[in-house]
Symmetry: C2
Subunit: 251 residues, 2 copies
């Protein structure tokens, strides 16, 4: 499994991904699921991936090759004129990669080789944009109404995102929120694991504003994880008590 | 979908279930998913169900019939000598009901007609017990290590249960905890809905200690739902702030 989130804020974009991959619970590895391309001063693009690892690695390698082979330069992440076109190209590569593997294996319909991608970035002269790319190659874009996307094991970490997210929050608060969301997920699903990768893209920065790997020994992550349990229990005790004379309980 | 939880406490057992059933998002109804049988002073048994509604209603009707038809009295919930045997009979009925519907429809393997059940209760002279019954008819029992079971849409409401549960908590706190867990689930999954059913079984009471339907207009539930958002945000702000000079962030 996997857990990745992309948040759109007034100030820019924040992405976090875990790094655990597994093929059965007895075969666990660490693989990076976050990839960034940038032309400093002109564009920055970050992808996070969930799903079949061979599929997502193939998509990333193909995107990467295009930035290097001169003949394919026109389709490259470095050259495409808009984030919409970047999302289209990524979706097309994702769909083709899945279809090729399925066809070689005689798999029909929604198969084992599926994957999805959150794509974030900004190109000079345009707004920062955040997309969710589906295995079918199509995609949706974040908006004021739906300002963040999650892929992989999305449910455990969702309630705190729904309650804590605020479009005007600082990058620091957004990172803290993501750490709480990841901590809830890590506590519930063994197939999501540390270390985590973090990328902060500030509006009109066109370079990583802050980029980090959060290891299992990270003192801030431990402080959040321990503190959140304590704060949750104290929040719980601050709520009004239930009484068995229930009709009057809220008075 | 559905959300049901059964908690085992030092003081007894607490169960909560939602009441929404749906066949597509355009066909939503309210059905009770919590059923109780008791012989006052001798035994009390409560079931909560998730899964195919026709299956669970058939299982409940068959259990109910057995308590009435004299010839089948020996297998009845009212007569079986131990909670273990109640769980065995319930599991057998569940497996047979699923298999019959699958066979009549030519469905093989894990089919659409599946369901699962949380079973709680106490019979005089024995401890209160809590079981999770699988569609295969087998079952597991709660223990000190795993003192609660969830069925249906379990993930959204799990982090707060993991963090807030305490075996020695009062019934009132347990109900409050369940309301928070249900509120997080209701906020994230439209197919889980109010009203909720609540049953509190106290140790050696052999009758419902507290039983209630929590309607959408319930003032205590509204107070919990509003208060929890506020308290969560305040808990979040109490955590140490992240800083971009990250290595020192926890100092």
């Amino acid at each position: 499994m996997t857990y990745c989130v992309g948040l759109m804020l007034e100030k820019g974009l924040v992405l976090m991904s875990d790094t655990r991959t597994n093929s059965g619970v007895d075969n666990i590895s660490v693989f990076r699921k976050m990839f960034t391309w940038s032309v400093p001063g002109e564009r920055i693009i970050t992808l996070v991936t969930a799903g079949n690892l061979a599929t997502t690695q193939a998509v990333i390698s193909r995107l990467e090759e295009r930035t290097k082979a001169p003949s394919e330069r026109s389709n490259s992440l470095m050259e495409l004129p808009t984030m919409f076109q970047v999302a289209s190209e990524t979706g097309k590569l994702l769909r083709e990669t899945i279809r090729e593997t399925q066809e070689s294996n005689g798999v029909r319909g929604k198969g084992r080789f599926t994957a999805s991608i959150i794509l974030a970035g900004q190109i000079r002269g345009m707004e920062p944009r955040l997309f969710m790319v589906y295995p079918e190659g199509n995609f949706i874009e974040a908006s004021y109404d739906t300002p963040f996307f999650q892929i992989g094991e999305t449910k455990y970490g969702r309630p705190i995102l729904i309650r804590g997210y605020d479009r005007d929050m600082s990058f620091e608060d957004a990172v803290k929120l993501l750490m709480v969301s990841f901590d809830s997920t890590l506590k519930a699903n063994l197939s999501v694991g540390l270390p985590l990768d973090l990328m902060v893209i500030d509006r009109d920065g066109f370079a990583p504003a802050h980029e980090r790997r959060i290891e299992a020994t990270d003192p801030y992550f431990s402080a959040i994880s321990d503190g959140w349990g304590r704060e949750l229990r104290s929040a719980f005790h601050s709520l009004p008590s239930y009484t068995f004379e229930s009709e009057d309980a809220a008075e």
